[in-house]
Subunit: 157 residues, 2 copies
DNA sequence: TGCGAAGGGTTCGAATTTGAACAATCGGTA
DNA sequence: TACCGATTGTTCAAATTCGAACCCTTCGCA
């Protein structure tokens, strides 16, 4: 209940700066290779992995952990670029699906190899398989708990 | 060299979303408890931990992994609020030190308990000590490599 | 001494992000 | 059926972030 130990503080700091540095690198790589931001790549990647290549705005917003309005903005950008299209749900007029277009898929595959290589080079290859496993398990659990505490319908991990 | 395995992909995704969710929560907590953003808290915390409670702009920018101009903006805000002051280095007129003021220190201590509690609740207590140790070591190493690849003078971790 | 390259911060405009309204719709319940 | 609260996504203004251009200073070297 008291202050964090040095070890504990270091773990959190390491998490924070690792993500920050990775994010920075990925942003550069993706802008260069595919002309999109890291956030846009994540959005397209989520859509590509989803059934029918489409997701509700809310799920998507929750999955990439941005605000609702932020997602509206980004989907607007992606729609203008032709990488995504909007479709309203027949059974619920309020609901909007973001759908990955063919062009979106091909743009995604333009950035994917470099992105994967970066993840490998800067994270996967730095850790032992055991460390990687612990990382996935431990942080995965932390995620589940935080998401359970909210009402994020969409599942991810 | 090929695509990432499911396990590898999950590790990276877990890292990303864990940070995103933690960041979000901390932003809320710090705004509520101390009227500042998570980024501002990090800046003040770095200063508090530094000798003489001061750091060069560049070191600080690198440490919190924002851009130079972004830091200029934030230090400007913090200076207006009286939490930080600027001081130029006598031996090098170009260099600027950001210095934590007394008021900055007390504001920091206003947010610190809640911040620590959050780190503990959402991260530390979710993991076993062993997992935490692996996390700190593994990610710490990843950090060192990325920073070594750049010219970030400031050390942190 | 004098020159050119590099370093350190700031400034500026454009892009993005946020949070607080807002309008529209759905669900359950009387 | 009619109503009230909860959901969904958007809009809007303000705050923040980014990158490139810029100015001034320092350093290495002829």
């Amino acid at each position: 209940m008291g202050r964090l130990s040095t070890e504990e503080h270091r773990a959190w700091t390491a998490l924070r700066t690792t993500y920050a540095l990775l994010h920075q690198r990925m942003d550069q790589q993706l802008k260069r290779d595919a002309g999109m931001s890291h956030l846009q790549y994540e959005i397209l990647a989520r859509l590509a992995a989803a059934p029918e290549r489409e997701l509700r705005m809310t799920s998507l917003a929750c999955a990439v952990a941005g605000s609702k309005s932020g997602l509206t903005y980004q989907i607007g950008q992606l729609e203008q670029s032709g990488l995504v299209s909007r479709r309203t749900c027949p059974s619920d007029v309020r609901a909007v699906y973001a759908v990955l277009t063919e062009e979106g898929a091909s743009r995604l595959s333009l950035g994917a190899p470099g992105h994967g290589a970066l993840v490998r080079e800067l994270l996967v290859d730095v850790l032992t398989p055991e460390q990687l496993r612990v990382l996935a398990e431990g942080l995965g659990e932390a995620n589940r708990r935080m998401q359970a505490a909210e009402d994020c319908g969409g599942s991810f991990g």
